[in-house]
Subunit: 128 residues, 4 copies
């Protein structure tokens, strides 16, 4: 199963309205148009929605090889609150080793302002 | 607006089927019954769903005081994959200072096994 | 080579004046008496000194088994600035799996106040 | 007190043999020539030494403005083990807000290979 197929079968990403824009070796871009159901109690996009958007980019980028990659640990740092428009998450590879790989994901808005930075490290299982 | 009210107005948490079990000063417990729409492409709960569950506990615990707390940075580390049952997220306060506070959130299953650990630091805005 | 022996051969920890108080399976305690050379430009213990103290506890706790554990990623969150006295770092195991393990380390002062919290995930190499 | 002066008064950085290469607004580069006392029990540069090198770049970059910046939280992810040569840490600004700022620091060797990635968030105190 390829990275794109994995992304299409990701029911939670679909539930959150997240779609794939681009998928390549060790890189991917996902997007999410902000809807009322993405907002938290103070009317801005919930941290979990931003995280899920970034995580979708991470999963796609890290599963572009011949192995299944599963998340070990991820972090997100928030810079700017948004409540409307389209958000993009672009994953790039910081390091790829046999069993572990690390990606940075930048979340930006339509004006290309940095909304959040996410970093994730995955464990790469043996090739099937 | 109190922490419980903030939680009830969190549309994204509601969209994810997350509810509040307990809310106190600097502590909170949230829960989520795993549904098919919480799963990722390999059939386990998506990292973003676990993060959102933990983030709901963080938001509730950190907004239990006289100030609005917004997320600065959070991390999550995954220990065990789940695909059914009920998950709980319990937030406890590690540190509370005037403008910054930090919480640990443990995500467990019905057998009280540790599924993930989350840590979040919030910025506390001036009292309204 | 056991965990205690690894700790004794850690030249950087020795250079920093860090010593082992206790070593067990998946747990360890290290200590450091604050000296002028641990301070930064504003006269408080440098973040790197706190990190190194915590990292020593992590390395000892995670190498208590039959495999060599090397750091993948670690984070530290600072709660209180110190400039004198003795600091302790106590590592406990959050998760132990075949190839990956995660530890929390609490750094406290002589009054048992929480100075910082550290979390580290290690990769466990094949048994020698 | 400027960022460069703060760096020069950092006794722990000096104790670790770390020096400043460049200091600018929101950016800085530090370096460290690996010595035997930087190594851990398995003969590679200790995580705490890499962290301290990166932290020095963070502190210098974040104190380049009219306010004192103190660390809130930092993380480091290790990619490659080193045991000799010179290491460089280059900090760049991801976000600068009134009271909080975030920096990424890349640690590289003389061949410009990525050894580790560090990210730090600081709290900016009121101008003196």
């Amino acid at each position: 199963m390829g990275a794109r197929e994995l992304a299409e079968k990701d029911l939670f990403a679909r539930h959150c309205g997240i779609t794939l824009v681009h998928a390549g070796k060790g890189q991917a871009t996902a997007k999410m148009e902000i809807q009322p159901h993405h907002l938290n109690g103070v009317g801005i996009v919930q941290g979990g929605a931003l995280f899920t958007l970034a995580d979708m980019a991470l999963a796609t980028a890290s599963n572009a090889y011949d192995v299944v990659a599963v998340g070990l640990t991820s972090s997100i740092t928030y810079f700017k609150a948004e409540s409307s428009g389209i958000l993009f998450a672009k994953a790039t590879e910081l390091s790829l080793r046999r069993t572990v790989a690390t990606y940075q994901v930048k979340v930006t808005n339509e004006q290309d302002e940095l909304i959040a930075v996410f970093q994730g490290t995955v464990y790469r299982k043996n090739p099937k």
